[in-house]
């Protein structure tokens, strides 16, 4: 009994072994490399499914095991793993998408000369992400949190010779690191205030779940929660640290699907779920989380309306959807957040893979150079369509159920956020309709239309599998069946079934598609009617509210300026003082050591100075 659960630590080791093997083999073995990477993730997937089936037993108990990492005086930092229902769910999401992306990349990256390096990085990422999922305490979590970040960095910069890729990789790392610094500080604060300096999640749960009975004051609780939330903002692309995610699209498209849609960016939401008790203990923290999420959802959705790069639209869509998840968490619905994470992982990975299939065929990411692809790429068009409908929240696709769970909660908890969520949902449907109609319908505007053909099986099969998952994944939690919530939280959360929310969200979906069809479906236009009437608004959205420009001037500029100032200070003030002292000393030395020549002169001088000082000290001792 529970045998797979107890050996769950093996799961990350499969991809890790694949990474080591790939690194050792080098670039020569292309086919073998693809096989090694895929098998590593397949084994991890199988094992994760076995663990999940064990967890479905209602009597399953959480299992954790940890070992000493460092002794710190009287305290010990530990490393360990833990299997809970939440972890088991994440394990399956990560390994499933990872495996499908491995298969897909065999086609997509076929011609890249560094394909084995690519598979190595993907395997390393899968290892780190699984380690993050399984970690039993905050420190181990942080270790893997940083490791997934560095893998993301490596893969965004995979085509390292491109200056844009280099800039994007650097930006991804640094911007997320701003959040990570907060997270690190949060962990440090947590360490000192937790009873027994325990950092493991079950102790955190026990301490904060008791309400405010412990020694931790409300101020401290709120501070810890907000510091941890900084990490979430960075990793999950929440405003104002979202700027790295659209640029991260410089990486290969399978990576966008795996890391920047389904798994790593969701790690922030997962962190919220893991430390949910801390947040729940502070109403102020919960409000902050909810409003950051809600704002990000609407903010990013409006930006997505005016982008012309297929991957950027999807990237902003990801930011917006992550905003939904964060908002759900902030509203107290961990189930809603995790449920949306679950469905989103499938339909967004699907959308990215389908977009990759399009890019593979037309060699551009500009949607205005596509058009009419539906007839030539049927599988891609159908699967993309399913993903789009799911994202748009049209029943019975999975996105509908999870988005409805969030909106239902919002309506009960905070009508203002419900309105925001509904508006963002409308934008979502609108930009997805725009994307779908411009890319797949109408006349072809492709430069070389004859070369456009459907992608091969390696790419098509993962898309079809994900499409099926996007359709069915939503049925684990419906307004009349709260199975997922009960399983995740042990039945502690009520189901927010709200007829009005359901009707409103369906209405918004249908209206969005209709408006989208009116604007973009009937006939192709380079410029939407809105652009003609309000060019400033469209430009504002197109330039992403000028957030990047603002950061460049205010933050990057300030750091540069301070650096420049300090550099000048270092060179002229400190250096100048040193030169002055040095000049005096050397001039004095010339006088004193005139008899000596050569380099040893200076040393002699120093010895003399030293001797004088020593004598002074010995004499001075008498007067002390």
């Amino acid at each position: 009994m529970d045998s797979f659960t107890q050996t769950a630590w093996l799961i990350p080791l499969f991809p890790f072994a694949a990474f080591l093997l790939l690194t050792a083999l080098g670039r020569g073995y292309r086919r073998a490399g693809v096989m090694i990477g895929s098998i590593g993730s397949l084994l991890a997937l199988i094992m994760s499914l076995l663990v999940l089936f064990e967890r479905l037993d209602p009597n399953a108990v959480d299992y954790s095991n940890s070992y000493k990492w460092i002794d710190l005086g009287d305290y010990t930092l530990k490393v360990g793993f833990e299997v809970t229902n939440l972890n088991a769910l994440m394990l399956v999401i990560v390994t499933a998408v990872s495996f499908l992306v491995n298969v897909y990349s065999a086609g997509y990256m076929k011609k890249d000369e560094r394909i084995t390096v690519f598979y190595g990085y993907v395997a390393l990422f899968t290892f780190a992400m699984l380690g993050l999922v399984l970690s039993d305490n905050m420190l181990v979590f942080y270790i893997f949190w940083e490791l997934v970040g560095v893998c993301s960095f490596l893969l965004v910069g995979f085509w390292y010779a491109r200056p844009a890729a280099r800039a994007a990789a650097k930006k991804a790392f640094i911007v997320t690191r701003i959040g990570d610094a907060g997270l690190l500080l949060g962990i440090i604060v947590l360490f000192w205030y937790m009873p027994g300096h325990a950092l493991d999640f079950s102790s955190i749960h026990n301490v904060f779940n008791e309400g405010q009975s412990g020694a931790i004051t409300m101020t401290i609780t709120t501070s810890i929660a907000l510091l941890l939330f900084m990490g979430v903002i960075g990793k999950s692309g929440q405003f104002p640290l979202h700027v790295w995610l659209p640029d991260a699209m410089e990486g290969p498209t399978p990576i966008s699907a795996l890391i920047h849609a389904a798994t790593m960016v969701a790690a922030g939401v997962f962190l919220l779920a893991r430390t949910f008790d801390i947040f729940e203990a502070s109403a102020a923290a919960m409000h902050t989380v909810a409003y950051f999420g809600g704002f990000t959802a609407i903010f990013a959705a409006t930006v997505a309306l005016a982008q012309n790069d297929i991957k950027r639209i999807l990237a902003y869509s990801t930011i917006s959807q992550l905003g939904y998840m964060v908002m759900a968490m902030g509203l107290g619905s961990m189930t809603g957040g995790m449920f949306h994470l679950f469905t989103h992982a499938f339909f967004k990975a699907l959308l990215f893979l389908a977009a990759g299939s399009v890019i593979h065929a037309v060699h551009t990411q500009n949607i205005h150079e596509m058009g009419g692809l539906g007839s030539k790429m049927r599988i891609t068009a159908w699967t993309f369509g399913i993903g789009a409908l799911s994202l748009s929240g049209i029943p019975p696709f999975s996105g509908f159920w999870s988005k409805d769970a969030i909106l239902g909660t919002a309506l009960d908890e905070d009508p203002f956020l419900f309105a925001i969520g509904l508006a963002a949902a409308f934008c979502t449907v609108l930009y997805m309709s725009r994307l779908f109609f411009i890319v797949f319908t109408g006349k072809s505007r492709v430069r070389q239309p004859n070369e456009v053909r459907e992608s091969g099986l390696a790419m098509a099969i993962p898309m079809v599998v994900l499409a099926v998952l996007s359709v069915v994944a939503g049925f684990v939690e419906t307004p009349w069946n709260g199975w997922l919530g009960n399983w995740l939280t042990g039945g502690g959360e009520e189901v927010h079934a709200n007829g009005f929310a359901i009707v409103a969200s369906i209405a918004v979906g249908v209206l969005g598609i209709y408006v989208g069809w009116l604007m973009y479906g009937r006939a192709y236009r380079e410029q939407s009617p809105a652009a003609a009437r309000m060019p400033w608004l469209v430009q504002l959205l197109e330039r992403q509210y000028y957030v990047n420009e603002f950061y460049n001037v205010v933050i990057v500029g300030t750091v540069r300026w301070i650096g420049k100032l300090l550099h000048a200070f270092d060179e002229h003030v400190i250096g100048g003082a040193v030169r002055l002292v040095g000049f005096t000393a050397v001039a004095g030395g010339r006088v004193m050591t005139r008899l000596n020549n050569g380099q040893t002169q200076t040393y002699g001088l120093t010895a003399v100075i030293g001797l004088v000082v020593i004598i002074a000290a010995i004499v001075g001792r008498r007067f002390w």
């Binding site: 002794d71 990789a169 690190l184 650096g563 000290a617």
Partner: protein
């Protein structure tokens, strides 16, 4: 296997480079390969021995695990103090006193490791090989002596040996402005040594004596053990006010004098560390010295500053260290942020790394200023970790320069294409430097900040900004070098040779080992903390 404790193992380790020096002197001077082989062999032997010592070391013993003493010279002195306790004669004794504990042992291993790797990296030395390896081996003995000496004068002698050896190594084999760099190095460090000597003499003349009951001799010596014992003993003469001893006590050390000696030590070792604004000399050394020498300089010599600060500053003067902790913490914070911000503006890779050292040494200061066990552990961990990382980085700089003839950032770029191995290691080294978990840099940084938060939460909070800034300047420099479009000049450049790759892999392996399994280092140090430092901390915390 033989028992290490039966042999004078410390003296053997210390003397091996000197034997190597003799061998080098006997070899023909134009035989570059032979000379290097000799240097490699005679640096590998101490490495193997020190690793055996490390494995053999009893981690549960707090004090000196191995001690080797011998009297050098005894000088009779005038009978200048009142004869109490039946003392009949006075002697000044110079002792050869070596010992290691959990603090010095890791640094000894670090020294033997980095020196051996630097011997490999010396493959790029172009002239006067014989003299180079002679000074090189002398330098190793000097550094090892510094970490092993348990006598203040012996410590001083070894400290000066490193100074002289470095002076010639920088001045002869460096780049264009090498002589200037060497001069500034020796002036600054000579000044530091002078200040250190004053502090030492003050210490010896107040606390550095014991009375040999058998011969009724009053013996002055630089014995570290005597000084530690006397300072900690409330009934020792050094701690008795004159009115407690009947009006006259020339050995009494007043509070003011405690503070003065403590501050003298801080300045003396602060120059070496370096603490701002005493850092300009080390920039020049980083920029002008041969990379193999910078490996030793940045990897080990800077650590002597922190080592001295712990060994003499904190252990001997815990109360002052505690009182001045806020100042040390502020200085550490300035080092950390200033170094990072200025590193961000550098156009020369070597200077980025130099300022990076300043920044990383700031973390050591922060760990010390925490004045608790966690912080101190973090500081020591950071010492070892930074030693490994900066040695690796300068090893890479040496290999890069050989191929590109420049390390100016604006001229580099895209090197990952023609030298994927070197670029990969450079990226790994950069990630270690910016504190990526799984590599050694993170552990030292995390423990230092964790410890600091308990005593100075606000400074710890600000120090976290350093985590971001480090990422900014490291990635800027590394990505500028390896990513992006490649210059045509560098297209045909070859990747690392085996003799270059070997030390890179070894250093990276150690960085990963410490990052993944830090206990291998912390356990060794742990019981020194328990034995020596814990009483200091608890004493002060309680009071």
């Amino acid at each position: 296997m033989m028992d290490l404790t039966d042999l004078p193992i410390l003296s053997i380790i210390l003397a091996t480079p000197l034997i190597g020096l003799l061998v080098v002197l006997l070899l023909p001077k134009h035989r570059n390969r032979w000379l290097q082989a000799a240097a490699i062999i005679f640096t590998l032997i101490p490495l193997v021995l020190s690793l055996m010592l490390y494995a053999d070391y009893d981690r549960h013993q707090g004090g000196n695990a191995y001690e080797e003493t011998a009297n050098w010279v005894e000088v009779p002195l005038n009978k200048e103090t009142q004869a109490s306790n039946g003392v009949t004669s006075f002697t000044l004794s110079f002792q050869y006193d070596l010992g290691i504990d959990g603090l010095s042992l890791p640094l000894v291993v670090l020294t033997t490791l980095i020196t051996a790797m630097a011997a490999f990296a010396s493959v790029h030395v172009k002239k006067r090989w014989k003299a180079f390896y002679a000074w090189f081996l002398l330098l190793e003995t000097g550094v090892l002596g510094v970490f092993m000496a348990r006598d203040l004068f012996l410590f001083f002698v070894f400290f000066e040996i490193t100074l002289i050896a470095m002076y010639f190594l920088i001045g002869i084999w460096g780049y264009f402005n090498r002589e200037r760099a060497a001069n500034q190095f020796v002036i600054y460090n000579g000044l530091g040594s002078a200040i250190m000597l004053i502090a030492f003499i003050l210490l010896v003349s107040t606390a550095g004596f014991h009375i040999d009951q058998d011969t009724s001799t009053f013996i002055y010596s630089g014995s570290y053990a005597d000084i530690v014992r006397n300072l900690a003993d409330p009934s020792a003469w050094v701690n008795l006010a004159p009115d407690q001893t009947g009006g006259l006590n020339p050995f009494h050390m007043s509070d003011a004098m405690h503070t003065v000696i403590f501050l003298l030590l801080v300045v003396a070792f602060g120059i070496k560390l370096p603490i701002l604004p005493f850092h300009t000399w080390m920039l020049k050394v980083h920029n002008e010295a041969h990379p193999a020498i910078v490996m030793i300089h940045s990897g080990i010599l800077l650590k002597m500053g922190a080592y001295g600060l712990i060994r003499f500053g904190i252990v001997l003067f815990p109360e002052q260290a505690k009182d001045w902790a806020i100042v040390l913490a502020t200085l550490g914070l300035i080092n950390l942020l200033y170094g990072a911000l200025v590193a961000f503006r550098q156009t020369e890779l070597k200077l980025v790394l130099a300022y990076s050292s300043i920044s990383h040494m700031g973390i050591v200061l922060l760990g010390l200023a925490a004045f608790n066990e966690i912080g101190l552990q973090g500081a020591v961990f950071q010492l070892v970790s930074h030693g490994l990382i900066s040695a690796l980085m300068f090893l890479l700089v040496g290999s890069l320069y050989e191929r590109t003839r420049t390390t100016t950032l604006s001229e580099l770029g895209g090197l990952a294409r023609s030298m994927p191995f070197i670029s990969g290691i450079l990226l790994a080294g950069g990630l270690a430097s910016l504190g990526l978990p799984g590599m050694s840099g993170f552990v030292g940084e995390f423990m230092s900040l964790l410890g600091l938060f308990d005593s100075q939460p606000w400074i710890a909070g600000f120090a976290v900004i350093g985590v971001i800034l480090t990422a900014v300047y490291v990635l800027r420099a590394v990505l500028k070098t390896t990513f992006g479009p490649i210059d045509e000049r560098f297209l045909a450049v070859k990747d690392a040779r085996l003799i270059e790759a070997l030390p890179m892999i070894v250093l990276l392996a150690f960085i990963l080992l410490l990052g993944c399994y830090p206990s291998v280092l912390t356990d060794t140090f742990q019981y020194s903390v328990d034995g020596v430092f814990k009483p200091l901390f608890s004493l002060r915390m309680g009071g």
